[in-house]
């Protein structure tokens, strides 16, 4: 179980900084910074710039992504923003609008 879980009914307006895993099922507006992995579940809404380790998105994310590891956009994900990561997967059925910078 992840150390920090933002449940489905919860909305956070502001800045989240953590050195633990984060699972987002609710809504976040602002900024999200994690040293470890971030999982944005289906149904979650994130309107924030995201800085993380491995990032998995199945929900909606509007904002720029900077990941020190890989970014997985799963089917059903909706992502608007630029992605900077070492590796990226965009699954069939994921919606994505933005630039990808893989630091080559």
């Amino acid at each position: 179980m992840a150390s920090t879980v933002i449940g489905a009914g919860i909305t956070i307006d502001g800045e989240i900084t953590t050195d633990e895993d984060v699972v987002v099922e609710g809504t976040i507006r602002g900024k999200l910074t994690a040293k470890e992995s971030i999982t944005i579940e289906a149904g979650a809404v994130v309107e924030a710039d995201v800085v993380s380790g491995p990032l998995t998105v199945a929900g909606s994310l509007t904002g720029n992504i900077t990941s020190s590891d890989r970014v997985d956009l799963q089917g059903g994900a909706k992502v608007i923003g630029n992605v900077k990561a070492t590796r990226i997967t965009i699954a069939d059925g994921a919606q994505f609008k933005g630039n990808v910078d893989m630091d080559v």
């Binding site: 992840a2 150390s3 920090t4 879980v5 933002i6 449940g7 489905a8 009914g9 919860i10 909305t11 956070i12 307006d13 502001g14 800045e15 989240i16 900084t17 953590t18 050195d19 633990e20 984060v22 099922e25 609710g26 809504t27 602002g30």
Partner: protein, 147 residues
């Protein structure tokens, strides 16, 4: 990582639960810091640091190492084992556990365990005993402190 505090054991016993709760619970882990407003439905457990207002429809638990510093805090019930400091008003059933540090103005009901530190104003509605009725119209305790 730190021990997860989801202590609601004795507390939930006297509570009529089963109210309509949308959403699942949320947990702010020990290594997490949030600056901003947290609102919504469901329960919330805070073992990290929160700077800002908290307003949830369910139960709010501030763990032993958790802290909440904000203006207004509102929840169905609030159980504090860590730190709670609010400039504004705290609304809900507040339970101050041993070892905690609480500084706030409370509207609702409150219980303070022995060994807890509490500073603030308590605005609780209750019926005065007959012998005291007529002295003051509002049942309002002044600033109290217990440690």
């Amino acid at each position: 990582m730190a021990s997860s505090v989801t202590a609601r054991g004795t507390h939930s016993a006297n509570k009529t639960s089963g109210s309509t709760r949308g959403g699942s619970g949320a947990r702010v882990g020990a290594g997490t810091r949030i600056r901003g407003r947290i609102s919504g439905s469901g329960d919330l457990t805070i073992d990290g640091n929160v700077e800002g207002d908290v307003n949830v429809s369910g139960d709010l638990t501030v763990g032993e190492h958790g802290s909440v510093r904000g203006d207004a805090v509102e929840a169905e019930s609030i159980t504090v084992a860590g730190t709670l400091e609010a400039e504004g008003q705290v609304t809900g059933q507040l339970r101050v556990l041993v070892g905690s540090h609480v500084r706030c103005n409370v509207k609702g009901s409150i219980s303070i365990d022995e060994g807890a530190e509490f500073a603030g104003r308590i605005d609780a509605d209750f019926d005065l005993p007959p012998e005291l009725e007529g002295h003051s119209s509002s049942a309002r305790a002044g600033t109290s402190r217990r440690s």
